[in-house]
Symmetry: C2
Subunit: 316 residues, 2 copies
């Protein structure tokens, strides 16, 4: 085997996921190890070096076949120079990842943020395969966004494009504060955190719901209750879907993507969430901007990041 391979690295606060992809985005081999966040950037970068070598060693491929290494981090980065500017979960500021790792590994290194590599992964080999213009929204603790235009990640002038979770879509009168300092961001209603918050508020108001039997309310519990017909839970999920759909309506006007991909834990809810999303999108988007646009669930799950990171050298 002498074909070129690409290694993708998805760095999270607790674990680092790695994978090998071929030129077509097929995931051939994977590896996972603890991040070592507490050790600071030096330890984490050393872990990446060790894991990348182990990943390739354990695989059927040789180090010579590695054409490039792509890495995704949670935070803000200077993609051009390969510097992680700020990563709150890792407690990093201005870490020159590319320089350090290229020195150690002697292979070209590219970095990007976690939401963008997930979008690229889905575009390359998942729910967006064959589609050049798409938007991915990842519903997890927050709402992550990644924009693919002409097959490539849209980064903006200093790497801040696709901060879709902070679009202020909830009207001021009923908006609550977001972690970003603003009010009414779509993340305050359509993320797991937002769904839990709405459930806790309903319980505090003394509303009658099966959620009152739970000790710890999770987004999954709310989504399950909604599926079982609980009125309060259903209203909450409708609200999460409604504002996400309205946000997508704005994105359709601005970007005119062919496809929206919804990923992340919350998206596993299925129709009970996708129905209100599609309804709001259909209602609030001018017909000419809806034409030919579809809304689909993500396909790669937790692997999207690793695949997209590997793809940075081909489509980044």
């Amino acid at each position: 085997m002498t074909d070129q391979i690409y290694t993708g690295v998805d760095v999270g606060g607790t674990s680092i996921k790695l994978g090998i992809c071929d030129r077509q985005g097929n995931l051939l081999h994977t590896f996972e190890g603890p991040t070592g966040t507490d050790g600071g950037p030096q330890v984490v970068l050393q872990n990446i070096v060790t894991y990348v070598r182990q990943l390739v060693d354990q695989s059927a491929y040789s180090w010579e076949q590695v054409a490039g290494i792509g890495i995704g981090f949670p935070g803000f980065m200077d993609m051009k120079n390969g510097i992680v500017k700020f990563a709150p979960n890792l407690r990093w500021e201005n870490v020159p990842v590319k320089d350090v790792l290229e020195q150690e590994l002697r292979k070209p290194v590219k970095i990007n943020n976690d939401a963008n590599i997930a979008a690229l992964g889905e575009a390359w080999a998942g729910a967006g395969k064959g589609v050049d213009d798409l938007v991915m929204l990842t519903l997890g603790t927050g709402v992550g966004g990644g924009i693919i235009t002409g097959g490539k990640i849209q980064e903006g002038h200093n790497g801040m494009a696709g901060e879709l979770g902070h679009i202020q879509i909830v009207p001021d009168l009923e908006a609550i504060k977001c972690g970003c300092g603003q009010k009414g961001c779509v993340e305050t209603v359509s993320s797991a955190t937002g769904i839990v918050k709405m459930a806790l508020d309903a319980l505090e108001r003394g509303e009658k719901t099966m959620l009152s039997m739970h000790e710890d309310i999770t987004a999954k519990a709310v989504l399950d209750a909604a599926r079982e017909g609980d009125e309060v839970a259903r209203r909450i999920v409708n609200r999460a879907g409604y504002y996400l759909g309205r946000t997508m309506s704005i994105l359709a006007l601005v970007l005119n993507p062919k496809r929206f991909i919804i990923g992340g834990g919350v998206s596993k809810a299925g129709d009970i969430l996708f129905d209100p999303i599609r309804e709001a999108f259909a209602q609030y988007t001018p017909p000419s901007s809806q034409e030919g646009v579809d809304i689909v669930p993500a396909e790669l799950g937790n692997n999207a990041g690793v695949v997209g990171a590997a793809g940075l050298h081909i489509r980044g």
Copy 2:
């Protein structure tokens, strides 16, 4: 002179503007003639052929130097195939402009919409010179939008990207109906039409304003009255600027442009409009998405379209 030149054509409902540009976007020679809308597509296309030939004949350049012809139309188009799908002002549907004109003129023809070519013109040779990522908003009868990413027009999957005037930014409770069928589009408050409408509403409510002396209220009259300190006019202009600034705040999150360019008749109002725009943008945009972003007035005025159309063959 044997350098290549590019001809730009900006088709409006009443007149067609034409110009010759060099490779750097310098406007070297211009021409203008009536559109002849009432004659239908055949007459308008014949006029374009005649005008392009006259434009070049009257100039210091030869027909052989013409490397390409770019044309902007008001409406929706299939840029790839050069078809105007729908242009309400011209009453056109599915006109294969590129095929017809390439047959007649024997030169490569590219088409795009009026807001996009204005954005490209400013990016190439106007207020966006040297900037690769920018958004232009044109405040006229409506609010037109054009997005430039990596130096090129962002078209979207079927040519509908950049429909920025229809972002629904006014909360439902105080939103009014837009021509597009939706409610609360930024166009309903930040366009000339929106400004006039708000003034008429204020007069109808019997508010005390110097505008009551005018027979016909124009956007210019409202902007002038605001500059002279008229309270009602000032509130209207503040509202136009506020919602435009909030719309730009969303665009900064999605696209992270380096620069916003505000053009069109209304933008001539100057600081009285730009102040509330900048204030709302500063207040509602997360700091990381404001970093390095500037908001400037357009520079090319009515020539932006012609220059941008000429640029379609170099940067389109």
